[in-house]
Amino acid sequence: MSLKNQNLISKSEVIMNIKNINLSFGGLKALSGVSLQIKKGEILAIIGPNGAGKSSMLNVISGIYVPQEGVVEWKGKRRNKIAPHDIARMGIARTFQNIALFKGMSALENILTGRNILMKRNLFMEMLYMGLGRRQEEEHRKKAEEIIDFLEIQSIRKTPVARLPYGMQKRVELGRALALEPELLLLDEPMAGMNVEEKEDMCRFVLDVNEQFGTTIVLIEHDMGVVMDISDRVVVLDYGIKIADGTPDKVRSEKKVIDAYLGVG
């Protein structure tokens, strides 16, 4: 992936195919018989009321949970249990519902840490800060600055993230995920707890990321409103069952969805 503007995105190629999965914890069923396809370059929103299984779904996509039944295919290949740190290497990055930034570091360092995966580890060269150790730091600093520019956080790059306001922290976290140059970006309630202005900013960044970098984005949201505007496709979960899947307009009008959200049925 490059930072080139890719206008032509084939919206038909499926990069992740989730077939008929069942996931339960102990006796508790979290997901039952859910199938889902994620297409390259789209913005897919997974919505649903509390306890609908949104987070479980996200964790299945990211590979943290392995469903008891069903198949998850990543780029046409069946994916089995993987170590958590290998998920990122497959090209999947994510943000967290409760901000999970590295509090002891600055915004810049947080984003640079996202680049770690693309760097080579060499104890001696890094110790001496010579050769590879130095070169890669400088190269990746450039990339990190591009992300900083993109997210318009130049002024806070050296500020420790713990001192940043909530909205800014969310932005830095997005930046860290972007630094991985992922093919698939998972956003766990990216707009939660934001005011209107912050939400608008975040929407803009999500759209820009999708447009400029061609990144496939899956986001989960509790609140229907915002996501409807930016998503290409919406999936609705309720009690661990997929009740709707389609364009925002189509989903909005489905009776099941209205019932689920209004608590009827």
Partner: protein, 296 residues
């Protein structure tokens, strides 16, 4: 294998373990209520024991001396809250831990400055050499009494935590500082309560250990014996401290007697830690510790 001897080692280990639990309890109280590992607990044991024994030497009757020492420990707790904890409220736990390091030095110095640094004999009037004879095994009576004291203390503390308003408040604070504050529990008062209670537990530990070792500086190092107990039992559980103590005491005695001979002996210092390590590999939060749930 001599089964009577085994019984004696086993029971002896359990009783030693209870003595460790007594020290561990003080740690648990403070950790439970504030999440702080109180490094000064050993120094508090020393201070309490020294105060008590010097009062006795002045001719004050034992019960009165206990009462006066308790009052002094409460005053100490209030002073600690005022001078040390209050300015550090809302700081990271590591900082509070560091403050207890400072406290440790301060109390050690103060204890010996106010009283002195000699060895004091503490005679509780219990014959230390009398033993119950069960078959061919001797079970020391003093140890049994000490174990009863410790057991009683645990019972009282458990009931206190469960059934009193303060106890419930303590538990609330332990679960969530902010939440406890928001329902109107004053954190400062709570801290005074726990530190006072820990001080009184330190006094009990000081009396028991002091009558065993003589009251002197070295009793502050019994705190070291409490660490594996805490780890096995969990830092936050009062009954866990007892169970941890039993496991550590029993494990180290059996290991020393039956395994020590093969590797040259004196394995008592590291064996409990290896045991604790084993426990943790199976249960990372200790046997009684609260499970840490990590949400993604």
């Amino acid at each position: 294998m001599d089964w009577w001897f085994f019984l004696e080692v086993f029971v002896g280990g359990l009783l030693s373990g209870v003595m460790y639990s007594l020290v561990a309890l003080g740690f648990v109280l403070i950790f439970k209520a504030s999440g702080v590992f109180n490094f000064a607990q050993g120094a508090m044991v020393l201070f309490a024991a020294l105060t008590f024994v010097r009062l006795l030497e002045m001719g004050i009757p034992m019960l009165a001396a206990i009462g006066v020492t308790m009052v002094i420990m409460v005053i100490l707790a209030i002073a600690i809250e005022r001078i040390v904890l209050r300015p550090l409220v809302n700081q990271d736990l590591i900082i509070l831990f560091m403050a207890t390091i400072g406290l440790n030095y301060f109390i050690e110095g103060m204890a010996q400055l106010v009283w002195d640094s000699k060895v004091h004999v503490l005679d509780l009037g219990i014959d230390e050499y009398d033993a119950f004879e069960i078959g061919e095994a001797f079970i020391n009576k003093f140890d049994v009494y000490a174990a009863l004291i410790a057991g009683g203390l645990v019972l009282v503390l458990s009931l206190f935590f469960r059934y009193t308003v303060i106890g419930r408040a303590l538990r609330a604070v332990a679960d969530d500082h902010q939440a406890a504050l928001s329902v109107g529990i004053p954190l400062r008062t709570i801290w005074i309560y726990v530190w006072s209670t820990a001080g009184i537990v330190a006094l009990v530990a000081g009396i028991v250990w002091g009558s065993k070792l003589g009251v002197q500086f070295a009793i502050s190092s019994v705190a070291l014996k409490a660490i594996p107990v805490l780890i096995i039992g969990g830092f936050t559980s009062v009954p866990g401290a007892i169970l941890g103590g039993l496991i550590v005491g029993c494990g180290e005695k059996l290991a020393e007697v039956y395994l020590g001979g093969f590797v040259g002996g004196a394995i008592e210092n590291w064996f409990p830690y290896m045991l604790a390590l084993l426990v943790l590999m199976i249960r990372p939060e200790g046997i009684f510790g609260e499970k840490i749930i990590e949400r993604v």
